[in-house]
Symmetry: C2
Subunit: 260 residues, 2 copies
C-alpha cells in the first residue's frame, strides 16, 4: 500500500524541477520497467500490480528494489500513462558527465529539439542504428521527461547522453586548422544523401523542429546534407529525418550491419 | 458569434460516428486551414480569429466559405488542439472511391495502422516521397480523425486514400498466374533494403504497430523487406520504417528526385 508521501513524491517527478531536485525519474509500463530493471540504472522503488510482480520478481530481486503492490487504477493515478496495468519504477538519474566519443563512432548532436516525443523517438532510432552517444543542447527537452522515456521504448537504457554547450563542444572537438572530424548538418538544402559519400565516422547535427540548426552551431557544420524530396510535403519530422539520414550514413560508409 | 448549435455540431465532429453521419471533419491551426482552403476540399464553415481572417480573407473568399470570428479561447474550447490562435475549418469528407493506381506508381497499403499520429505521419511521408495513393484496411485509423489531419501537416490535401478490403484488392490487382505487380511487405526479417534491387513500381505494405502484417495480407507479399539494424532496438516505429523504406525504394529504382 502506497503512503500519501510516496504518492506525492511520485507525482512530483512528472515535473523537471522535482526530477532535478530529487535526482530521480519515472519509468512506466511493462516493457520499459523490465528494460530498466535489467540495465545499469538504479531503481529506488517499483510499484507493480500483483501480476506483474509475480512474473518479474526475478528482475526486482536482482535489483534489490523495494516493491509496492498497487492496482492498475493506482498506477494510472500516480503516473502519466493513460493505461498502465503493469508497473512504474522510480529510478535514479545519472550524473551529467561529458561523453568520450571514440574515433570511428557516429554521434548525434541535438540542437534544441523541444518535443519530448521527438527526443524519445530519436533515442530509439539511435539505438537501432548503433549510435551510442547523443550530445544535447541545454535547450533540448529533458531526457527524463516521462514522454521521452515512454517514446524511447527502452532504448534510453542503451544510449548515452550529455547536456551542455554544444557550440563549445564542437569548438573543442572539431576546431583548429585541420578540422579532422566531419560534422554533417541536416538542412532543407544541402548535398543529396543518396549520392554523397559519407566519412566512416563523425557527427550528425539535427536542429530545432521549427527553426532548424542555429547559426552558432551551423558554423561548425562541415557538410550540409539533405534528404531528396520526390513530392510536395514542405518538410519531414525531425525524428523521421534522423532515421533516414542515419540509414543513408550507415549504408554509405560501407560494411554490413553489426547485428541483424 | 457561434451559436450553441454550431458549437455542438463542431464538437460532435471530434467523434468518428458523427463525422460519418454528417460527412464532415475538422481542420485546425493556421497552416492546415490555409492548405485546405487552397485544396479541392469543400469547406462548410471557417471559424477564425480576427487576425487570421484579415490575413487570409483572400482564401476564404475564394472558397466562398462562411466565416465566423472567434477568440483563440473559443477555438481551443470547440476544437481538439491545446493551442490554436488561428482557425478551424469544417470540411466535407470525400466519397470513399476506389483508387486508380497507374502502372509506374508506388502505392502504400496500410494493414491495420491503429494510431492516428502514425497515420498522419505516414500521409506526410507519402507526400514527401511522391506517393499519391494509400490503400487502408477498414481497421486502419480514420483519416478524418483530427489527430491524423494535424500530424499530416497539410499533406492530407495532396494524397488520396481508399478504405476497404485490402486482401480483396490485392487478390484482384496482383492475383493470377503472372503476379505482375511486386508487393513489398515490411518485416523484421526479409531482404536487406540496402542491397535489394527494387522494381520501378508496385506496392509497399506496412502492418499493425504490434502485430505487423496479417497472415491474410502476407499471402500477397511477393518480397519481404527489412531495414538493417546496427544496434539493439527491437523495432522501429511504423512511420519511421515507412520513411526509410520509401527512401530506399526511391533511390533504388534510380532516377533523380522529381522536385528538390
Amino acid at each position: 500500500m502506497l503512503s500519501k508521501n510516496q504518492v506525492k513524491y511520485i507525482q512530483s517527478l512528472h515535473q523537471k524541477k522535482f526530477r532535478q531536485q530529487h535526482g530521480a525519474f519515472l519509468v512506466e509500463g511493462a516493457k520499459s520497467v523490465q528494460e530498466v530493471l535489467q540495465s545499469d540504472f538504479q531503481t529506488e522503488l517499483v510499484i507493480a500490480t500483483d501480476e506483474f510482480y509475480k512474473e518479474n520478481s526475478r528482475l526486482t530481486d536482482h535489483q534489490r528494489s523495494p516493491v509496492e503492490i498497487a492496482s492498475a487504477a493506482d498506477l494510472e493515478r500516480i503516473g502519466t500513462l493513460g493505461s498502465n496495468n503493469a508497473a512504474i519504477a522510480v529510478v535514479r538519474t545519472k550524473e551529467n558527465r561529458p561523453l568520450v566519443i571514440n574515433s570511428g563512432e557516429i554521434a548525434l548532436i541535438l540542437d534544441d529539439i523541444r518535443d519530448p516525443g521527438n527526443l524519445g523517438t530519436i533515442l530509439r532510432i539511435a539505438d537501432w542504428y548503433g549510435v551510442r552517444s547523443i550530445l544535447c543542447s541545454d535547450t533540448t527537452a529533458d531526457v527524463y521527461n516521462p514522454k521521452v522515456i515512454s517514446a524511447s521504448k527502452g532504448s534510453f537504457t542503451r544510449v548515452q547522453w550529455w547536456y551542455g554547450d554544444i557550440t563549445q563542444f564542437l569548438h573543442q572537438s572539431t576546431g583548429g586548422a585541420e578540422r579532422a572530424t566531419p560534422v554533417y548538418g541536416a538542412f532543407l538544402e544541402g548535398a543529396d544523401v543518396h549520392t554523397l559519400p559519407f566519412a566512416p565516422s563523425g557527427y550528425l547535427v539535427m536542429g530545432n523542429e521549427s527553426n532548424g540548426i542555429s547559426p552558432a552551431v551551423e558554423r561548425y557544420v562541415t557538410q550540409r546534407v539533405t534528404i531528396p524530396r520526390y513530392g510536395d510535403a514542405e518538410s519531414l519530422n525531425v525524428g523521421i529525418a534522423t532515421a533516414v539520414l542515419l540509414d543513408n550514413w550507415r549504408r554509405g560508409r560501407g560494411g554490413g550491419p553489426l547485428l541483424t
